[in-house]
Symmetry: C2
DNA sequence: AATATCTCTTAACATTTGTTATCGAAGTAT
DNA sequence: ATACTTCGATAACAAATGTTAAGAGATATT
């Protein structure tokens, strides 16, 4: 317990100045939960109740398209946050589902707590702004990659960006993240391996 | 002049409470500029100096891929803001170029002014947070569309979303925005027209 | 242990999308 | 006005990606 709280303390302190008193008021509002592999922590159709800070493990955010296929939108790794921002902030039903891929320890942060942060921390609004901005940077890069890169290039960058993750995640999740079919991803991988040998 | 300032006043007031005194301190910091069609207001490689509020006209944000082709990343319409968020906020060189497509009146906001907003407006940080969050909503939808939709579906939604804009913008800009070639967009359009007649 | 289910690979084939080239129309500059 | 670009439509062809199906391993379930 202490351990997880230390980590989120550090996480917050890396964005804003925060006093011990402020932390004392805030930390008890966080709840820590452990989830097993494959657990679904948020269902589409429901309002996204929490902002999740990933202390340990990997989450997958996906949605279901009109053919019923799951499309992975995002992988949330250690020390990052995951949520359906719009559903969570506006309290509207979400189109996304969030699932645990690797046994995870999460810190759940409710909207009330987020609002508490905005109202009661000296730099609460700033924390919200900085986190939102960082999210923008990540997603701009991601969108940009889809525009600029071929599937092969996207596959290569994914491998570089998430070297260890690559072997922990079912391959077809990665395929949908890269916006290609599992069959085609398999083809790209075998192409890569062939050219390595020659 | 007064007119444009009124509009940005309303724009800000739609996000946060702001007093007359605060506005009096802030508005003089904004500068208004008119640009002709095709004017380039920010070059890639340079630091993005301003956050632009579009009072009138249309902007196009694009980048140049490895083959030298321009890829349109975003169209900024009336009453929205445009910038390379990361370049502007971190003061690092930008990969994007911003061009005027339809004769535009812009309010230029420097980073100093943004920082002035954060430091001196009672709800300055909140304004920054809300704008960043809105940006996230827009871009999440956009990214989502690229994942879920076929080029034909994306073309159809684009037409619905920007009905008037559609005929004002050169078609090949739209093609790169939709992530297809101009030739293919032309094909999709003619397919649509054929099926309408039958 | 046996069975069922899921995952990845591979192949053959279908479809979509990209590429190149040509033409005419419209816009821009001289 | 005249020439020069740019733009969009179209066609023929090429390449990339999707689809379907079959089989082999792995994993989970009974």
């Amino acid at each position: 317990m202490v351990n997880e709280m230390d980590k989120i303390k550090q996480f917050i302190a890396s964005y804003i100045e925060i006093s011990e008193e402020e932390l004392e008021g805030l930390l008890p509002k966080f709840s820590i939960r452990k989830y097993n592999k494959k657990a679904i922590i948020h269902f589409y159709g429901e309002i996204c109740k929490y902002l999740y800070f990933v202390d340990k493990g990997i989450l997958r955010v996906f949605f279901i398209d009109e053919h019923g296929d799951e499309k992975t939108f995002h992988f949330a790794l250690k020390n990052t946050i995951a949520t359906d921002y719009e559903s969570f902030l506006k309290q509207i039903p979400s189109n996304y589902t969030i699932q645990v891929i690797e046994e995870a320890t999460l810190i759940q942060i409710s909207l009330e707590t987020v609002q508490y942060i905005y109202r009661n921390l000296r730099h609460g609004e700033k924390l919200g702004r900085l986190l939102a901005e960082e999210y923008i940077f990540i997603f701009t890069k991601k969108t940009n990659a889809i525009y600029t890169k071929t599937p092969m290039q996207r596959y290569q960058s994914f491998k570089k960006l998430f070297p260890d993750v690559f072997h922990q995640i079912p391959q077809h999740y990665i395929a949908s993240y890269l916006h290609i079919t599992p069959v085609h991803l398999s083809r790209l991988i075998s192409q890569t391996n062939k050219s390595k040998k020659s």
